[in-house]
Symmetry: C2
Subunit: 548 residues, 2 copies
């Protein structure tokens, strides 16, 4: 059994701040706007417009039955959504019952669940992790799966199903809501925006929960190693940050810690940068810093940056084509024993552009590209550790530059990955309160029989009492996207907005961070003490609305 630390125990007793509108749950009602336009794919959900919470007439509620699912990767605050759900249900009717499906949507499909009582919940309040009920990556896609989900909700007589997840999980919530309506089920489906990557944002969804805490954990580490770099004066930290698809985390952490360089995937893509250009940017930084006597530095690298580098993606495609399973070239390659021979052989089958990129790669990576392929014969790009790849290429380049007398310095690089430790940390002040209110709001929506919505609390940059509660119809967040060759309706991922205020603030400052060391050390998350360093917001969030 988990042995709670003194701080964990103290946090279990914390009572989150509750929005005024979410305090009197019996009176919580909603005003609905007119829906934008009819949606063919969601005939039943189509008529629902956005909701804004308002104080209505207090009603007497029958006991509510709600099921909750945690879906996808962990994000700090998940347990607080459940806490908010639970407390609000009990206010509406003390006989209400909350069940938690185990291991994500798979638990819903198989009706594997536990009842969540105050006893169960108590030691999870304001804690990190998803371990109360676990999570999973199952999606509901087949007809059988939809039937199973319906069956479970009927067996348990659910008034509501709350799906806490990212873009894919909320896409699922939308389809489930439509299906349940179509089948005449009374179960309302509500989504809650979760993901440390913060790529589930859309209009009213200003931020997904967990992003704040994760960025603070990463920024604590980045600030600490930056200070160490400045003290030891001999290391370059290449810090990879979580975020495979978007670079929100890298941007936020850069604004918090002021590294010498931060790569932003979306910018690299927009400018069509090649691998050599990305490498040049780093190598030039190192050379320029060496000229002013600085052989140390801090570089932030989003986990997914490789996916944004055009020529690298195209090289991989070409190698995959050349080395298709069963091709004569593949057979010939397998007869060669020396890695050097293999490399020469494959080079002879690449065009000029591809060669230029290929030759930048260190031998070890070239070898991996030729050898380590998945069962379909495809190169596994995600297996390559980006921070180590970049270190290796920079080492080669700097060696060449040194030979030509263009670089006089010592390059000692340390790879670092800020990843898993941010996903299950104790939620920050912001995530603690945000999540708890999201939970209460979800209960309120179900109590008023709203379905197909994602909970939206806005004006989040401001003090908690100024936050505004509402809900956005999931169906109107959907768009069509090509996935694995098929056009699918999904919730759009939110990328870093290169015209947005946060990116603009970054661009304005970053030139000054290159040679001067402006490192900021945000330090550990504080749960006590003055608001100026306990009640914080992500910088990207505060910049979201400019001078609102």
């Amino acid at each position: 059994m988990l042995q709670l630390s003194p701080l964990q125990k103290a946090r279990t007793h914390y009572v989150p701040q509750v929005l005024e509108i979410l305090q009197e749950m019996e009176q919580l009602d909603f005003v609905e706007s007119a829906p934008p336009e009819p949606l063919e794919l969601f005939p039943n959900l189509s008529p629902f417009g956005s909701l804004m919470a308002k104080r209505g007439k207090a009603l007497n509620f029958q006991p509510l039955q709600i099921g909750v699912v945690l879906s996808g990767g962990q994000a700090p605050g998940g347990h607080n959504v459940i806490g908010g759900l639970f407390d609000a249900m009990r206010i509406l009717n003390v006989e209400s019952r909350l069940v938690g499906f185990l291991g994500g949507l798979a638990g819903l499909l198989k009706n594997k669940a536990i009842e969540i009582t105050e006893d169960v919940l108590q030691s999870y309040r304001n804690q990190g992790g998803f371990d109360l009920i676990g999570s999973g990556r199952t999606k509901v896609e087949t007809v059988e799966q939809f039937q199973d989900a319906l069956q479970t909700s009927q067996v348990l007589n659910l008034d509501g199903l709350v799906i806490i997840g990212g873009d894919d999980s909320n896409t699922n919530a939308c389809f489930l809501a439509e299906y349940f309506l179509q089948k005449g089920s009374k179960t309302c489906v509500i989504g809650v925006p979760k993901t440390i990557d913060n790529d589930l944002q859309d209009g009213q969804v200003e931020i997904s929960f967990g992003f704040d805490t994760a960025c603070r954990i990463y920024s604590e580490t980045i600030g600490n190693v930056a200070r160490d770099a400045l003290s030891a004066k001999k290391y370059y930290f290449f810090i990879k940050l979580m975020g495979r698809v978007s670079s929100h985390i890298a941007l936020e952490c850069a604004l918090q810690t002021k590294p010498n360089l931060a790569l932003i995937g979306e910018e690299i893509q927009a400018r069509g940068k090649k691998l050599s250009q990305v490498v040049d940017e780093i190598v030039n930084l190192i050379i320029e810093r060496a000229k002013v006597g600085k052989d140390w530095g801090v570089i932030l690298i989003p986990e997914g940056v490789i996916e944004y580098i055009a020529d690298l993606k195209s090289l991989i495609k070409k190698i995959n084509k050349v080395l298709a399973t069963g091709s004569p070239i593949t057979s010939k390659l397998e007869t060669l024993s020396q890695i050097q021979e293999k490399v020469s052989f494959i080079r002879s089958h690449l065009d000029k552009d591809a060669l230029e990129t290929f030759d930048l790669l260190p031998l070890l990576i070239q070898e991996e590209l030729l050898l380590e392929r998945d069962p379909h014969g495809n190169v596994q790009l995600s297996q390559i550790e980006t921070e180590r790849l970049l270190i290796s290429i920079c080492e080669n380049q700097l060696r060449e530059k040194a030979k030509k007398g263009e670089y006089k310095g010592k390059f000692a690089a340390v790879p670092l990955f800020c990843g898993y430790e941010g996903r299950s940390a104790m939620p920050s002040f912001f995530d603690t309160n945000y999540c708890y209110n999201l939970g209460r709001l979800a209960t309120g929506l179900i109590a008023r029989k709203k379905t197909g919505y994602i909970t939206t609390i806005s004006n989040l940059a401001k003090e908690v009492w100024r936050w505004r509660a509402g809900a956005t119809p999931l169906a109107h967040m959907m768009h069509y996207e090509e996935r694995e060759g098929k056009s699918k309706a999904v919730i759009k991922k939110a990328f870093v907005d290169l015209k947005g205020a946060a990116f603009h603030a970054f661009v304005q400052q970053r030139e000054g961070w290159r040679l001067d060391d402006c490192y900021s050390q945000p330090g550990p998350i504080q749960f006590f003490g003055p608001e100026e360093f306990s009640d914080l917001r992500p910088i990207t969030l505060t910049l979201l609305h400019g001078n609102d």
Copy 2:
């Protein structure tokens, strides 16, 4: 220029708690015990016995001139030692001057220094890092170096030289103190015990500063990933912890976080464990946990654990002998092109014991052992990433076990290194206060013309007001040790005491941590709020004196 975060700014205003005896600096005097026995190597220091601080007659002090050096790796609290020195000097005489030598002892030898004033110091108070004056790894060993050190202290007319460092730096402080006395110099030399590894402990030196903060930073991360392991239910975290020579950090972090397994180098050595036995311990854990449905876990690995594994050390020695530069075997090896051929060839030159160990290693590591050697032809053991080595061996073993039907589980391992981020973090409550008082104490020793001492504050497990100040003669901490083939007088490194209370507490609990998940999440260091989670001590320190 560094841009301080809100928390950093707040911390600059924190006023450390000062021991009562260190408040009235003018009255601070010392009682001296009789020295243990005469020391041939240190005729001038030999007569000095241990000191205990006492309240004496208040004196009027002339302005003091003190120089301070940070030596070796960063440890949280270094700036606070300097702050304590400075404030105490100014109390004794407002005209006193503190200079900081730049870049470690090299700065002393070359007289590269800055004057430390309140203006300079202000933004470094209670901050992490060593960047105010930097650090370095230069040792004072040659006659010329001793002369240079003396010259600098004469040019600057130093009353005192304070060397903040680990065992090697304090060894240097001792020799400098002896040399200065011998040359009739008035410069008193005082050492301050610093190292996050905590391997500089000796009687009155209960703990070296920085250890507490570093362990809290690492335990925050370990607790977070443990919670993530428990939530995701599919990863084994192999966490390498700083500490090349001793396993104090691993032991402390284990007690704080309760992982499923923690390797302790000293125990492995004492039991003469072989690599296969260490691997078995991990593999058996994984198999047993898989049997109860748990394919996740947390394993702590001290950075230096390889050095403690007897057969691995002996294998390396044998390979080094076989592959000595210029040997016919080396020449022959170089003619072979295939790695498989090389491996077979080298195997034919190893004895049975060496082969057993060699065959456990993954091919990639075998290759590294054969190819990547230093200029003397020796294998670079420290280049191998221990956590990745162990993962790789365990993967192989588990694959074999699965074939035999002895293991049914999924093994996905994540390597993690808790390292640099602990060295320059903002010091914890304990390190903030401990270091500041160490600094004041050092000034007091110099003011009363004490030399060749290390500052010792004891009873540290208790509240600050119950701490006791004193000093231990460095010369009496020295012992003879073989280093690079020569017998040298050095300060003994402190290893984990396998008969001590901390290790005993660990042994008592660890069986319970294997299959059950008892993970504790200490969370981020708190600088505010109730003492039960801000004013903490390392668990190993609280256990040091048992029921004192």
